[in-house]
């Protein structure tokens, strides 16, 4: 039988009848535990997860009024969370425009998903490892990664710890336990399963969280990840940001079942669907997920239903495939920052002045950092061959030598100097 018993909750319980079935298979060879359930049936019925849509767990109503049980949260934490959401939003606004002006080559915003990001990271420990996709910058910002360093990466200056090698928004930081972003979709998901397994073996108070979108969840890597994490027992929280779109592909073209939640169930993983734009719900669910993962040494899946408020990236114009009315409806009707602010205001923890202060301070901080980074140089060409291997090989040293000699001799053809 399974070493780590992770029984999926859900609609199997409807068939429990309290009797031990005497003449049916016990399911052991198939790793199926029929105890307390029928193992045989006369019904020639075919079922689909689409028959049983799972409701969204939520604490706040769309306007921010409390309708569920609020988690324990003090004023300091709540303000820190709201501040981070607003800061991310302000930074996005300026850097998006900076791309339009040609000051950075590419950018992706997080509009509408601030709640999924900050609500979840705030419920974790600072040393819990994060594997992300690309629309989780708020997670890193919340943990204290400097805006200056983010912009350094976007421009690829000498202060970019990534040595200018990757496209913008491919952040990473060991100090903040945030794995460097890679462009291929979904590759991080089974890696997070491996990291969570390491954490189980290490036995420390630590989990790994993995963020990905509804589109990435179609990748083979996603399925591999969930199955591995469940069978091998990984302390991994799989956090799906279901924002309705994968570039232009709407959810109707991405899956036919009951979203990503049903897949968690399918792999035997404790799963929940939540209102991703309800920061309190995100916080509660992530906190609970972390507890479950450590207690049972198993993965947990959270499907956070949200909406991508902006375009996929600066290379996309979403007006080509969705109505502005739909965007407006979501931006006004289910706005994570507005809902959470409303909750804080009701507790006397936040005012519109606070919001203005945060916006103004952040705007200034981003502008100063942007101007500063634009004045800095980039990494020297010599670094081209570093980090391919632990030490550059003779092949690479020879190639670098040839390149530098070439750049010296043909210097007038190149903007960069060889030294």
């Amino acid at each position: 039988m399974r070493r780590f018993v992770c029984k999926a909750a859900g609609w199997a319980q409807k068939r429990w009848n309290g009797h031990q079935i005497a003449d049916g298979p016990d399911g052991q060879v198939w790793n199926i535990d029929f105890t307390g359930h029928n193992s045989l049936t006369d019904d020639l019925v075919f079922r689909s997860s689409a028959d049983h849509p799972q409701p969204l767990f939520r604490v706040l109503d769309p306007r921010g009024g409390v309708v569920g049980e609020t988690p324990q949260m003090d004023e300091e934490l709540a303000r820190k969370m709201n501040t981070a959401m607003i800061r991310q939003s302000v930074m996005d606004g300026i850097l998006y425009e900076a791309q339009r002006q040609g000051r950075i080559s590419f950018y992706m915003t997080n509009y509408g998903e601030e709640g999924t990001q900050i609500g979840s990271v705030s419920a974790l420990q600072p040393h819990d490892m994060v594997y992300a996709q690309y629309r989780e910058a708020g997670v890193l910002l919340y943990r204290g990664y400097p805006i200056n360093d983010m912009i350094a990466q976007c421009i690829g200056t000498i202060e970019d710890k990534g040595k200018g090698r990757q496209m913008p928004i491919h952040y990473g930081s060991p100090e903040h336990f945030y794995q460097t972003i890679s462009s291929p979709l979904g590759t991080q998901i089974p890696q997070a399963a491996g990291a969570g397994y390491a954490m189980r073996l290490d036995g420390e108070d630590r989990v790994c969280i993995c963020y990905f979108g509804d589109g990435a969840a179609s990748e083979g890597d996603f399925h591999a990840a969930l199955n591995f994490a469940a069978t091998l027992g990984s302390r991994t929280i799989f956090f799906c940001r279901n924002n309705g779109y994968a570039i232009s592909t709407p959810a109707v073209d991405q899956y036919a079942g009951d979203g990503i939640y049903a897949r968690g169930i399918g792999y035997g993983i404790r799963s929940i669907r939540i209102d991703g734009n309800d920061t309190l719900a995100v916080y509660s669910a992530t906190k609970k997920a972390r507890e479950l993962s450590i207690e049972h040494n198993c993965p947990v899946l959270i499907e956070a239903m949200t909406y991508r408020g902006g375009h996929h990236s600066t290379s996309d114009d979403s007006s080509r495939y969705r109505q502005k009315s739909e965007v407006d409806q979501w931006t006004t009707g289910s706005n994570p920052i507005k809902r959470f602010s409303k909750y804080l205001e009701s507790k006397g923890w936040w005012t519109s002045d606070d919001e203005k202060q945060v916006r103004d301070a952040t705007r200034k901080e981003v502008m100063v950092a942007l101007q500063r980074q634009e004045s800095l140089g980039s990494w020297p060409v010599e670094t081209l061959i570093e980090d391919v291997f632990a030490e550059p090989t003779k092949h690479l040293l020879k190639q670098r030598q040839e390149l530098l000699e070439h750049m010296e001799e043909y210097a007038e053809h190149y903007k960069k100097k060889s030294h």
Partner: protein
């Protein structure tokens, strides 16, 4: 068989200088290297499909009993997941030996290997890396494997920067190179010619030892032609060399051992000495690793060459069951190539 015995004799000499050695086959040698790796570092894990009970080729026999289910385990049938899981473990501070059941099945993991394993260090400026990973897979012809149990896949990966590829020719090399591969702080693809698991037997020191990665082995000295190959081809090159010696053609046989990064110095010194070169591998000739060697050697040794560089490889077909003996770069084809190159 002659060639295999010669190998055994050479390593036995070495073994005689050490404390203890045993005559074992390549499968057992690999088992011992993995056992040593698991013993050396508590944070080393070994896993793959069917690895738990000992593996379909018996390479991991006894290891789960000795080191426990958390460290030696089965995974679900999923190669992309298998490799990616290892990335996460590596980055979390573990050393990983990941087994792909047949090299023919490594392709689902190609994205993870090329886009993640190989690039992890580069994209993080060495903040993190997958240097603790060794990916092992049985490769090459076995006599009855056909298209999906016989492939040699080194060329596909040789094109990707950041990967190290090692292929042993026998038990002594397998144990030493695998030990080195585990210790190496770069990700290594370790392809094991499956026909050698049982067929290749030799004296292997009982204690732990490493052989250098990136170093070729001149298995036989000669003056007329340099033969370069790896894995199963090494024994064939030696047999062909015996035959050619009977025709007064002296062959220098080099086992490349590490495909990437390959030993440029040893190879170019040899070709400059002999002036003639034959490269041989089972993989199809077009864009096989012989093509890279050929281009590099002629760049460096052009003025020393007496004849074009010759390649004796599989044809550009898929691996055929019925025609295996005609497809493979056999001893007669090597002898023919030697004669042609000599009399160019």
């Amino acid at each position: 068989m002659q060639a295999v015995r010669r190998q055994a004799a050479a390593s036995a000499k070495l073994a005689a200088r050490r404390w203890g050695s045993t005559e074992i086959n390549m499968c057992t040698a690999i088992n011992h290297a993995m056992r040593d790796a698991l013993k050396r570092n508590d944070k080393t894990v070994l896993y793959g499909e069917d690895v738990g009970f000992g593996g379909v080729f018996r390479c991991s026999v006894g290891l789960r009993d000795q080191f426990g289910k958390d460290r030696v385990f089965n995974t679900p049938v999923n190669e992309q997941g298998l490799i990616a899981f290892g990335v996460g473990l590596c980055v979390a501070g573990y050393d990983v030996i990941a087994e792909i059941q047949f090299a023919d099945y490594i392709f689902p993991a190609f994205d993870q290997i090329v886009n993640e394993v190989a690039k992890y260090r580069y994209r993080t400026s060495s903040t993190w890396n997958c240097g603790g990973m060794v990916i092992r897979a049985p490769c090459s012809a076995v006599g009855h494997g056909s298209m999906y149990h016989s492939q040699s896949v080194e060329a596909f990966f040789s094109h990707c920067p950041g990967l190290t590829i090692v292929i042993p020719r026998g038990p002594y090399q397998a144990k030493g190179l695998l030990t080195a591969a585990v210790k190496e702080r770069n990700p290594v693809l370790f392809f094991e010619p499956k026909i050698l698991y049982r067929n290749s037997v030799g004296e292997v020191p009982d204690e732990e030892y490493s052989l250098p990665i990136g170093q070729a082995d001149v298995v036989r000295s000669g003056t007329d032609i340099t033969f370069i190959g790896w894995g199963t081809q090494v024994a064939k090159m030696l047999t062909a060399a015996d035959e050619l010696a009977g025709k007064d053609i002296s062959i220098e046989v080099i086992d490349l051992q590490t495909i990437v990064p390959w030993d440029v110095e040893t190879v170019t010194a040899s070709v400059k000495k002999t002036g003639r070169c034959v490269i041989t591998h089972e993989a199809p000739v077009t864009s096989g690793f012989g093509a890279e060697l050929s281009a590099s050697i002629q760049e460096r040794c052009f003025l020393h060459l007496e004849a074009p560089i010759s390649r004796v490889c599989g044809q550009d077909t898929h691996f055929p069951l019925a025609f295996e003996e005609f497809y493979l770069p056999s001893v007669p084809r090597l002898v023919e190539a030697g004669e042609k190159v000599m009399h160019f």
